[in-house]
């Protein structure tokens, strides 16, 4: 209990610092990168006076540290701000040159936009991950156990093939084949669960190579350890050795791999996949926000993503320590 308390206190305080650092870097980069959000809010022919008036009203002319501290203060009160671009109904609405015509109160609250998009992203992530597991777990275990036979070759060739396919290309080809040509599945946007199938396959194709390799290597390492043969000499079946001992020992490296690498990959992959499929999740929201210089949305998603990654890493490290008490994180 004392260990767990000390672990979480230490790791959460480190995590908060990491999230703050990420937030500050994103916040600063957005403001020094080319592309003025005021041009997008007010439209291409807005007068310099209307632009200045709007920029000052949004606090964008204050020094960056002042803006950041104000932003942190707002977050502490639970206010993640309002979108620069999206109206209350969630639609993109940039380009009005009427400085008085775009008051922030008429813009969507960022937290509401994220709450609206998050269920779609979670659904896609869960389906993609599930599909990847369906392929990777049996194939990875088989390849690890018989690491000189055909399963190992299949695993190697399949993961090499999958890893060499860019997800943009896979997405477009699958839409073309499974939706446009054959009409088997819907593809663009989201209206019902059928719209998840093709994008989930694309996510799975991206995740599967890393999962197959991680599982097969972790299992093979344990299978080659002396305890595996000794256990069988002592009368335990190969099945019992595999499911009770090998997989348990393989769990620590797998957890690390899944925690640090897979979640990062999943997040990155989802952004691209959602954009290609016009899937109304966090990824589509974020990519459009980047094109539209919608600072409040980008900042909040960055904070949200880094918080998720930090906490998953903490959970993975805690689980690893629980499985193997020799480990100290």
């Amino acid at each position: 209990m004392a260990f767990a308390l000390e672990f979480f206190l230490r790791r959460i305080s480190q995590g908060v610092l990491i999230v703050l650092a990420v937030a500050f870097v994103i916040f600063t980069l957005l403001r020094i990168a080319p592309g003025d959000p005021i041009r997008i809010i007010l439209g291409p022919m807005a007068t310099p006076s209307a632009m200045e008036e709007t920029a000052e009203r949004l606090g964008l002319r204050d020094p960056i540290p002042v803006q950041f501290l104000r932003y942190l203060g707002d977050i502490a009160r639970g206010d993640f701000g309002n979108s620069f671009i999206r109206g209350k109904q969630g639609g993109t609405t940039g380009g009005s040159q009427d400085a008085a015509g775009a008051p922030p109160v008429e813009r969507a609250a960022v937290i509401e936009l994220i709450a609206r998009a998050l269920p779609y992203t979670l659904l896609l992530a869960a389906c993609g991950f599930l599909l990847a597991c369906l392929v990777s777990i049996p194939l990875g275990i088989l390849a690890g156990v018989r690491n000189s036979g055909w399963p190992q070759k299949v695993a190697l060739y399949l993961s090499s093939f999958f890893v060499s396919l860019p997800n943009v290309w896979v997405g477009i080809v699958l839409i073309y084949l499974l939706s446009a040509r054959t009409g088997w599945l819907p593809a663009i946007g989201y209206q019902h669960i059928g719209y998840v199938v093709i994008p989930a396959i694309v996510v799975a194709v991206e995740l599967a190579p890393v999962m197959i390799r991680s599982i097969s290597v972790a299992v093979a390492t344990n299978v080659q350890d002396p305890f595996y043969e000794i256990g069988q000499v002592r009368g335990l079946s190969a099945r019992i050795m595999l499911f009770r001992h090998v997989l348990r020992n393989a769990a620590v490296p797998l957890l690390n791999s899944f925690g640090a690498q897979m979640i990062g990959m999943l997040l990155g992959g989802l952004f691209v996949v959602e954009y290609i499929f016009s899937f109304p999740g966090i990824g589509l929201l974020t990519i459009n926000a980047v094109f539209q210089r919608d600072f409040p949305v980008i900042q909040t998603v960055a904070i949200f993503a880094s918080t998720v990654l930090v906490f998953i890493n903490i959970a993975v490290d805690f689980a690893s320590t629980t499985i193997d008490r020799r480990l100290k994180f």
């Binding site: 592309g35 003025d36 291409p44 969630g90 380009g95 009005s96 015509g101 663009i188 016009s278 109304p280």
Partner: protein
Amino acid sequence: MTINRREFMKATALGVAALSLPSLASRAAAASGPLIFAAAGTVTSSWDPTSHTVAPQITAEGFLFGHLTKCPMSEANPGEILPDLATEWSVIDEHTLEYKLRQGVTFHDGKPFTAADVKATYEYASNPDRPASAWYPGRVDVEVIDDHTVRLNTRQYGYPALNFWYVSSFLPILSAADVANPETLKQRPNGTGPFKYVETVGDQIKFAAFDDFHEGKPTIEEIVWAYVPDANTRVLGLLNGQYHLTERLEPEQYLSLQKEASLKTDRSLSSENKYLHFRCNKPPFDDPRIRLAVCHAIDRSQVLAVVGEAGQASNCHISPVKFGFTDVKGYPEYDPEKTQALLAEAGFPNGEGLPEIEYITSVGFYPKTREYGELITAMLQEQGFPVKLTTLEPAAWEEQLYRRADGQGPGHIIDVGWITGSPEPDLVLRPNYHSQFALINGISDPQIDASLDKERGATSTEERLKILQEETLPLIAEKAPSISLFSSVFLRAMSARLDGVTFYPNGPIDLSKATLS
């Protein structure tokens, strides 16, 4: 916190139900047959047409609002004017135009359309305080003769009323009651057009057929405007039948979709020309000889070969669908010898001594800008211009486009298109080449100003046409504050089941007579 199996199942069921709800709604909508338009852009935060100059919203306004007249802007007859809410129009004197209005027209909110609505709209929109007032020639007073006759009068403002001749096809007619209440005007559109606004849900806007449309209720009951920023997604959605109509195709997409039996394509000349603007208020382009030297170094036929189906050759600073277009005599053609002669005359033989020239272009907005940008850079470098190409994504490019408060714009050459919704040439010429505006290039040339003021002051369309074709447009070509590379062609595709669609050269789509079988 603990959760038992029953609670978990309940929460899961609620989640699944929540995700399924939009599905049921959309299936119901699909059953009643909405036309789904995959649009490349979307509307602004205000439905007030005088608050913006944004092309996608002008397309949306085409569904919702009527105008006094219609201009089809065909290449064969750019100046053709057809009746819309006005049935007759005439010139009373130099400062007065008279319009007889159609009777029996109603707005979407049920109010009848009368002369008071025209007066409110024109006087409001031409107010210089309105953000879109740059579209209009200046302030105008509207005299109500009777409920269905109005006179536009510009006497007090010192320019001929004829300047509104073509603008009448562009200014959406608003209800006087809405103009009196700008908050309402901003919140929802209320026009006399074939479709009325229903709601906005996320990135989708819904319009429904207007029962009392004066030309008869449209056959298509519902239009869904789906904002889909990615061009590939728009095409794939069209191929799998989720969308019925899409716009802004890349030339390769257009060619491949032509082979699809379930689709139709449309290729039509737009009111947009593509330009390279020179920053004329700083070296080296403050010298017209250097500007002309660049113009003669660009082989526009090669540029057009790169642009393919999305461009059409034209030798003029306005599109062929604009009033006043002509094949300008002496328009700068590819002539490397002239380039070298002009460079030597300006004191930079073979380009030696010229400062580095930054050429800014965008990628992802107009077709093939990066590709022909690289081509033009190579052509200019071949002639000795020390050119550096900067390619930016649209938001960053747009920030660089216009001159800043200090009068200077970034870089030296910048690529842009200019599209307007009326045959009126001054919507292109004055904002770009009159020193009072010169929004991008910063040209300040008394001769150009005088010529633009002269054509604006013409008292008949014949006189104005003559001045434009024989003086103003040749003068702009000679001074070269920009070079017009080509006229843009809009490439669209639609379901083969969709018939009776009319496309306007500035983007709006007339679906009032269309059918989706």
